[in-house]
């Protein structure tokens, strides 16, 4: 335990550091913690005139209403399908890309591939969705022209319910696989080269070295990435889904976040409390998932976040 005197002395000694920290700390409180505090309206009937603090408590009413609502299962299913599909497709590609890049002999070719595959990561979601829409347009899009050559009638990809999740997921892989592989390239670079040398001496093929040296070498990193991705699994790119939505694919594309947005902000009678409750419901599941996966990782001794 620190004595009061020591405590004070240490505080005073770092006073300049506290001054530096003041603005970021203020930001954190105002824009992060005040909304968390405000999330209590999920348990209240929020009315603007009474404010957050003055509104009446209603307990779990809004959660109850959401869970029993007509839309609940459909939205939950869409959210889960899109999330797990995205995780399943988005996780292996960066690893494959990193392993492949690692075995390229030509440094220049490697650099070019890296430069090109990183780049789409920085393109805005609006533009990505715009690109997808232009390339898939039933009349003017290049993909349908190609299908036309093969004698296939044009497909309205954006209007087909069954294509929605694939379009969403694979355009995401296209955009981010290159950038996400950087972290694995870094992990590969830190593997002791003497392991490879020894393996070569023993006559191991490249495939064997990849399997027995490279893959175990990047495993801890892969686990951490997987945990982080799982923790945000329900946060599937909300903004992108919202942009890709249209009345025809709504049945497959309505997810929790877009629903929150609509119920809370764009519907005729904005229902702040109900909408917040749905958002909170999602945040809590996310948190539980994150903690669970981390626990499993700890148990299997594969490395964890904490």
């Amino acid at each position: 335990m620190l004595s009061g005197y020591m405590f004070k002395k240490r505080l005073v000694r770092s006073w300049q550091l506290y001054v530096l920290m003041a603005l970021p700390f203020l930001y954190l409180i105002l824009f992060k913690y005040v909304p968390i505090y405000g999330a209590q309206i999920a348990f209240k009937n929020f009315t603007v005139t009474k404010g957050i603090w003055g509104s009446d408590w209603v307990g779990l009413k809004h959660f109850d209403r959401f869970v029993h609502s007509y839309d609940f299962w459909r939205i939950l299913r869409n959210t889960l399908i899109l999330s797990f599909y995205n995780l399943a497709a988005g996780f292996p590609f960066p690893i494959l890309l990193a392993l492949g890049l690692n075995y390229l002999k030509s440094v220049r070719f490697r650099r070019i591939v890296q430069m090109v595959t990183y780049a789409p990561h920085f393109i805005s979601i609006v533009v990505i969705v715009g690109i997808v829409k232009e390339l898939l347009d039933p009349r003017t899009g290049i993909l349908n022209k190609l299908l036309g050559f093969l004698g296939i009638a044009p497909i309205n990809f954006m209007g087909e319910i069954s294509y929605f999740s694939s379009l969403y997921v694979w355009s995401d892989v296209w955009q981010h696989a290159g950038f996400n592989c950087i972290i694995f390239l870094a992990a590969l670079a830190s593997i002791d080269p003497s392991l490879h040398e020894a393996a070569v001496m023993d006559g191991a093929s490249k495939l064997r070295r990849m399997w027995h040296i490279d893959l175990p070498g990047i495993m801890p990193m892969a686990i951490i990435v997987l945990i982080l991705n799982t923790g945000h699994i329900l946060d599937v790119g909300f903004e992108k889904v919202l942009l890709m939505q249209n009345p025809i694919n709504l049945k497959a594309s309505e997810i929790i976040d877009t629903y929150v947005y609509k119920v809370g902000l764009t519907s005729q009678v904005a229902n702040y409390s109900y909408s917040t409750a749905i958002g909170l419901f999602k945040s809590i599941i996310n948190l539980i998932l994150l903690l669970t996966v981390n626990k499993i990782a700890q148990k299997t001794k594969q490395g964890s976040l904490w």
């Binding site: 000694r13 770092s14 300049q16 550091l17 506290y18 530096l20 920290m21 603005l23 970021p24 700390f25 930001y27 954190l28 105002l30 824009f31 992060k32 005040v34 909304p35 968390i36 405000g38 999330a39 309206i41 890309l97 492949g100 690692n102 075995y103 390229l104 070019i112 430069m115 090109v116 595959t117 990183y118 780049a119 789409p120 920085f122 393109i123 805005s124 979601i125 609006v126 969705v129 715009g130 690109i131 829409k133 232009e134 390339l135 003017t140 290049i142 296209w174 290159g178 390239l185 870094a186 490879h196 093929s205 490249k206 495939l207 923790g231 809370g264 902000l265 909408s275 917040t276 958002g279």
Partner: protein, 299 residues
């Protein structure tokens, strides 16, 4: 992998062949849509619509770009986006350095508490509605502040900056500076910032790209079209297909021609809106690996 062989075995040769093929396929899969869009944007509108463009521009023309130049809403958006990006990124960088430096100091009393407070917000947030209500309460709706302050700092960037400071600025340097009578404020400005070029370049790219690409906050907080950033204008044109045809030149009677021009306009817009990024990207690209590597270290 710089281990050289005198003779590669047959399986290794096969492996190399397959691997090169795989890499070339990935490379082309990413590159082709980009090349196609750029080519289409420089082509004749009829050629684009009738599907004559495959790789290189067909009957090169600048019609699409002319149409973009005449579309005034795009320029309003461009100007706003530049304003939001420059101001926003400046605020971001200052805030991030201010937070990251104390957190990088082992002797900063209360460091762990601050870390927990920062990390918690990455796992749990109040959600959309409470944030919206807050911004409304603060009277920031429809002002530039709504575009800058709610995203003034990203915890992830604070963490990678802090880790970089810890690794690259030796404690002895601080001690030496303190002996020379340098206080913390001076140390941050005169030493830390000047020794952290690579990490500052990386987080500048991250923040600038995030600010430039931001559309959601704009959609939530801005109602007045005069404040719209480029992305929101793009959303109307590219996604909602909401093009004001009266702003397109060409014979009003010729509906087909206008329709084609509309498609061309979109390709050109995609290219133009991405240009600022393409200008900065090559300068920062070499630092990217470093930034991500620092970020991946636990600490």
């Amino acid at each position: 992998m710089n281990i050289t062989y005198r003779n590669e075995s047959r399986t290794d040769k096969l492996f190399t062949l397959l691997n090169n093929t795989f890499m070339i396929l990935m490379f082309l899969a990413v590159l082709y849509p980009i090349v196609y869009i750029v080519s289409a944007s420089f082509s004749d509108s009829q050629a684009v619509v009738s599907g004559e463009v495959w790789l290189w521009p067909v009957r090169p023309s600048l019609d699409g770009y002319n149409a973009v130049f005449e579309y005034s809403q795009v320029w309003v958006g461009f100007r706003n986006s530049i304003l939001y990006t420059v101001t926003g990124t400046l605020v971001n960088i200052v805030m991030t350095v201010l937070a990251a430096y104390p957190l990088s100091r082992k002797d900063f009393f209360g460091k762990n508490l601050f870390m927990v407070l920062f990390m918690f917000t990455t796992m749990f947030t109040g959600g959309l509605i409470p944030t919206y209500l807050l911004v409304r309460e603060l009277g920031m709706l429809d002002t530039i502040w709504a575009m800058i302050l709610p995203g003034a700092l990203t915890v992830w960037n604070v963490i990678i900056t802090r880790t970089y400071f810890q690794m690259s600025i030796p404690h002895e340097l601080l001690e030496a500076a303190q002996l020379d009578g340098c206080d913390d404020f001076q140390f941050v400005w005169r030493v830390v910032v000047r020794l952290s070029g690579p990490i500052l370049a990386v987080i500048t790219l991250y923040y600038a790209a995030a600010n430039w690409n931001q559309y959601f906050n704009a959609m939530l907080f801005l109602k007045n079209q005069a404040h719209y950033p480029l992305q929101l204008v793009l959303k109307d044109i590219l996604v909602s297909n909401d093009v004001d045809v009266t702003m397109l030149s060409g014979d009003p009677q010729d509906a087909a021609r206008r329709e084609a021009l509309k498609t061309l306009l979109k390709y050109s817009l995609i290219v133009i809106s991405t240009v600022p990024l393409l200008i900065f990207y090559p300068f920062v690209q070499k630092y990217l690996v470093k930034g991500v590597m620092v970020g991946s270290l636990k600490g």
